[in-house]
């Protein structure tokens, strides 16, 4: 027997799955354009499975950043650990299900789970969204990679601009507070200024110091704030907490 709350969790989960999986297409095509082969592209979607980290890795490695690409991907993945801490209480996975739950703990599954009101609906929202996106994201990556193989010169098709636009899309839902906007602007200017000075990949990592310093000092920040995680979901914006 399914309650209304559980049915709603299913509905929200499925709509986020469809919206999010669709842009696995752009990841697959961009990964091939960045010089990765089909298998390398698929390993990223199957194993790394975290959109921001995947886009960061291919972007920095394509520019010749090497190990800086690994560092960028890992730092962008840090927020998943934060989601895991709250999802452990919500999902309460046991035994073999624990690594599975951890693997599908991403922006969207966390956001849909937290948007539900009762525990069973939260667990339903988490699993439907997390497992659904893992399947859809990988199918879309495969389709995008096969498409990217046919395209040839990525610049002729504007895929270099698409890569930049993808990061704008990942950033946009996180720019709700003045503090976040200020950090984003300062980081972008600093990274651009460092482009001619530092080797590939390093400008992004050095510019990330801005976020850490402002975060630790709460400069420009609100005096009072909640300790709730705000996953700022991409895609349809469903399940977002204000």
């Amino acid at each position: 027997m399914q309650t209304d709350a559980v049915r709603r969790a299913w509905r929200e989960g499925v709509s986020v799955v469809v919206a999010t999986s669709a842009y696995g297409l752009s990841f697959g095509a961009l990964s091939i354009a960045s010089g990765l082969d089909l298998w390398q592209t698929m390993v990223l979607s199957l194993v790394m499975f975290s959109g921001g980290s995947q886009f960061a890795f291919i972007g920095v490695v394509a520019a010749g950043g090497g190990i800086a690409g690994v560092a960028s991907a890992a730092m962008l993945g840090l927020r998943n650990a934060l989601y895991g801490m709250s999802m452990r209480r919500v999902v309460q996975p046991r035994g073999a299900m624990l690594p599975v739950a951890a693997h599908v703990t991403i922006d969207e599954s966390t956001a849909v789970a937290l948007a539900q009101d009762e525990p069973r609906a939260q667990r339903t929202g988490f699993w439907v969204t997390g497992v659904g996106i893992w399947i859809g994201w990988n199918l879309a990556t495969l389709a995008g990679a096969l498409l990217g193989d046919l395209l040839g010169d990525p610049r002729q098709w504007g895929l270099d601009a698409a890569a930049a636009a993808a990061f704008v899309g990942l950033l946009w839902p996180r720019l709700k507070a003045r503090q976040a906007v200020a950090v984003a602007a300062a980081s972008a200017v600093l990274a651009a200024a460092l482009l001619p000075v530092l080797p590939a990949g390093m400008p992004v990592i050095v510019a990330a110091v801005v976020g850490v310093v402002v975060g630790l000092t709460n400069w420009l920040g609100p005096r009072h704030e909640s300790a709730l995680p705000d996953p700022g979901p991409r895609g349809s914006g469903k399940g977002r907490r204000s």
Partner: protein, 104 residues
């Protein structure tokens, strides 16, 4: 290191970080400061990546069709267009400007 080494290292790191979230006691990060710092680190990294992807090239800054394309995408994200639509619009903008308007 080959591309495969980098790729496997990064994939395992991201996966290990997810597992770590389920392993550490929640109290460790259950206060505003670490949460805020992680959130702003994410914002900082993504903003840096926007700048580098839109302007980077030839070991410095290159101004080309990516800039108008990114502005088109930002406008679409501002009116809550779906991710795939805005990203595709950026690609089409850059491709058209290069093909017909002589943009580099």
């Amino acid at each position: 290191m080959t591309l495969w080494h980098l790729l496997l290292l990064a994939s395992i790191a991201v996966l290990a970080i997810k597992l770590l979230g389920y392993a550490v006691p929640p109290a460790v990060f259950d206060s505003p400061r670490p949460r805020r710092t992680l959130e702003l680190l994410t914002v900082s990294l993504l903003a840096g990546l926007v700048a580098v992807q839109a302007l980077g090239g030839d070991g410095g800054i290159v101004l080309d069709a990516r800039i108008p394309a990114v502005l088109v995408a930002a406008g679409l994200f501002a009116v809550r267009a779906p991710f795939i639509v805005a990203v595709a619009a950026a690609a089409v903008t850059a491709a058209l400007l290069r093909a017909f308007a002589g943009f580099p």
